[in-house]
């Protein structure tokens, strides 16, 4: 069920997102399996990484998105190849959907040469620029402005594409959240903001973070806000697809509040003592992976086979990553500055069956600049 707020209408209810087995919305069976696969991969890779962390093979700390897999899987699945994403640290499924391989991710966690950043940054601080993704910085809502700027360029060049970024409930307190929401609203930009409301910013609960439901703020900035069950990958997909359609139609940004729960601590060292046990238990019953499995099992999909395939893929990736070398410090001083012509982002993988017949709507070469915003 989604609720929608808009400037003119105030608060109103939107049509329910069809997510029961009989009404799959815009998803074919192969897509629904893809979503499950992406979530299983995310969970499996993160579980493997946590075990590597405990063995001392992952330096620093380790951050995961256990229980939040549907938010990044569903949203990223609605993105076209030419769209651009700023991906945050509980959104591993988005990297997997865009085409980053598990071995590069596990190598990244371990600070190995084969990681996406070649050991220059850790954990989920990465973005494969060739796949249209920009890696996060630790000041999380910063990326909202980067996504807004991408959308600004798309609009200036008259391209039918959008930018999307994720951020958390804690991010809504930072100035960059407000600056991005305001700018995107003023210029009516094709950007999708996914607010991953996972109940806690580190240890700080929602009632110490904001005085109003943050989805209400969308209306204050002049655009649509939608609340979605963030533990339902298909609902996330449908809400994001609708937001993308609004964006490329020139109808401006959307704030999607994905309500979910951070089922692990902020990072590996955090024992979550501040979270009531009943709250965890309640959310455990709403597990997004199990939910998608139930749906597909009812449709006759062999879930065990999907799980086995994913598990084998992770085993192979872990073996390969563990065999990979650590980076040498030979070039540790290189690359602070770019040399030669700047290479912009490339297109990412977009597995949704709906994109199969769609053409590319733009590119980052910027050959169509001009026109009034």
């Amino acid at each position: 069920m989604a609720t929608e707020t808009a400037r003119a209408a105030g608060s109103m209810r939107a049509e329910a997102v069809p997510t029961d087995p009989a009404h799959a919305g815009h998803l074919k069976l192969e897509d629904r399996i893809w979503l499950l696969r992406a979530m299983l991969l995310m969970r499996g890779i993160e579980e493997r990484a946590m075990s590597l962390y405990r063995q001392g093979k992952v330096p620093g700390s380790f951050y995961d998105g256990y229980g939040q897999e549907a938010v990044s899987a569903g949203a990223a699945f609605a993105m076209a190849p030419e769209d651009r994403l700023c991906i945050l640290h509980r959104d591993l499924a988005a990297h997997l959907i865009r085409g980053v391989s598990p071995v590069r991710i596990l190598s990244q966690y371990m600070g190995r040469a084969g990681g996406v950043t070649r050991g220059r940054d850790g954990n989920v601080h990465f973005g494969d620029r060739t796949l249209g993704c920009v890696g996060m910085v630790s000041m999380l809502p910063d990326m909202m402005l980067v996504a807004t700027g991408m959308a600004m360029a798309f609009k200036l060049r008259g391209e039918r594409r959008c930018a999307l970024t994720w951020f958390g409930d804690g991010s809504t307190s930072r100035g960059d959240f407000h600056e991005a929401m305001n700018w995107a609203g003023v210029q009516k930009l094709p950007v999708v903001f996914v607010l991953e409301n996972n109940q806690y910013a580190y240890s700080t609960p929602l009632d110490k973070q904001f005085a109003v439901d943050p989805v209400e703020r969308a209306a204050a900035y002049g655009f649509t806000g939608v609340t979605v069950d963030g533990n339902d990958a298909e609902a996330m997909f449908e809400a994001t697809l609708a937001a993308r359609q609004r964006a490329v139609a020139g109808e401006g940004p959307t704030l999607i509040e994905a309500v979910t729960m951070r089922m692990h601590g902020h990072a590996a060292h955090d024992d979550m003592k501040y979270v009531p046990k009943e709250q965890v238990e309640e959310w455990r019953r709403r597990d997004p992976v199990e939910r998608q499995e139930r749906r597909l099992r009812d449709l006759g999909v062999d879930i065990d086979a999907v799980r086995a395939e994913v598990s084998a893929e992770i085993d192979a990736a872990a073996t390969e990553a563990l065999a990979g070398p650590m980076p040498t410090a030979d070039d540790v001083l290189e690359g602070v500055f770019a040399m030669g012509e700047a290479e912009p982002l490339g297109d990412g993988r977009a597995p949704w069956s709906g994109w199969a017949s769609a053409g590319t709507a733009g590119s980052d070469t910027g050959d169509a600049a001009g026109g009034d915003a």
Binding site: R84, V116, T117, R120, D121, H125, F126, G127, R129, V134, G135, V137, S138, M139, D142, M143, M144, L145, V146, A147, T148, G149, M150, A151, M152, A153, F154, L156, A163, G175, D176, E179, A180, N182, W183, V186, G335, V336, F337, A338, M339, G340, E341, A342, E343, P344, L345, S363, D364, T365, G366, D367, A369, G370, G371, D372, A373
Partner: protein, 321 residues
């Protein structure tokens, strides 16, 4: 060649780039219809439209953050901070997002941030600052600071065409006070130092408005042969040119308009201490603004900003050493 003011040279560079490359856009507060607080973009909207000469919301973090986003999808944004002082509100985006992007992700961020900087006209503590050293200390950001009309144009062309974030420190006090011959069309000035006046007894090392102060202070200094080295670029810093001047002159005065501690001149002094020690015939002398906010009232402001008399005195003392 045309005779342009420093400000006209900046406008001309922006106009040339907007004409030459449709990826270029300028963005900032009040730069559109109003033409900017200092009229650098006066008349631009009529020629290039409100999309490429963009009046933005009053939000410096957003200006820089959105420029980064546009840059990584192929644009070449030029941001105007209305005053260099306001960069403090965009510091995080510039230092953490733009500056570290290429090192972490091999993703270039070709943005230029224009920073109208400096004091001398009762701007007070929030309209007079010289924040360049903050960005020298942040990896991944280039910093340039022209002192002449020709360099203002050439360095701005080079900054816009550079694939990295570049802070372009344009000194407000030079806008209409400095004029000079400027070649027509696009030309790129390298990010290297320039000998503004050759000499052999002492070198004054400076950048931005302090180059003009140094030239004036040493024009006739009791017959001494005084070199003036205009750094032009702070990142990269032209170590070779600095050490060449030190080797030739053996005595060095370094002038910063910025606050003394950890200013650009402190880095220059450290470089000379490390690599030019054998060439020195006296202590490295620094002239800079003491570590106070820039006061408003003219006699107070003049008391702290380095002026011709202070530079003269420093040079005379060192020559007599």
């Amino acid at each position: 060649m045309a005779t342009l003011t420093y400000l006209q040279a900046i406008s001309a560079a922006l106009r040339d780039e907007l004409r030459a490359d449709e990826r270029v856009l300028v963005m900032g507060e009040d730069i559109g219809v109003f033409g900017g607080a200092f009229k650098v973009t006066d008349g631009f909207v009529a020629e290039f439209g409100s999309g490429r000469v963009m009046d933005t919301p009053l939000a410096e973090s957003a200006i820089i953050g959105c420029a980064i986003g546009a840059a990584v999808v192929g644009m070449r944004p030029v941001c105007e901070m209305q005053f260099a002082d306001f960069i403090s509100c965009g510091f995080d985006q510039l230092v953490n997002v733009a500056g570290k992007m290429h090192y972490r992700q091999d993703l270039a961020v070709p943005i230029t941030v224009r920073l109208p900087s400096g004091g001398g006209f009762s701007g007070g503590p929030f309209h007079s600052q010289n924040p360049e050293a903050l960005f020298m200390h942040s990896p991944g950001i280039k910093v340039v600071a022209p002192s002449t009309a020709e360099d203002a144009k050439g360095l701005l062309h080079a900054a816009i065409r550079d694939p990295n974030p570049v802070c372009f420190m344009e000194h407000k006090h030079l806008y209409r006070r400095v004029k000079g011959e400027v070649p027509e069309g696009v030309f790129e000035t390298p990010f290297t130092a320039r000998v503004a006046r050759a000499g052999s007894d002492l070198v004054v090392i400076a950048y931005g408005a302090m180059v003009q102060v140094a030239l004036q202070a040493t024009e006739d200094l009791d017959g001494a042969s005084v070199e003036v080295l205009d750094l032009r670029s702070l990142v990269p810093l032209d170590e070779e040119a600095i050490l060449d001047s030190v080797a030739r002159c053996s005595k060095v005065v370094i002038v910063d308009e910025a606050n003394m501690t950890c200013a650009a001149g402190a880095q220059v002094a450290a470089l000379i201490a490390e690599k030019g020690f054998e060439d020195l015939d006296g202590p490295v002398v620094r002239v800079a603004t003491p570590d106070v906010p820039i006061p408003f009232s003219p006699p107070l402001e003049q008391a702290v900003l380095p002026g011709v008399d202070r530079v003269k005195e420093a040079c005379r003392d060192l020559l007599a050493y």
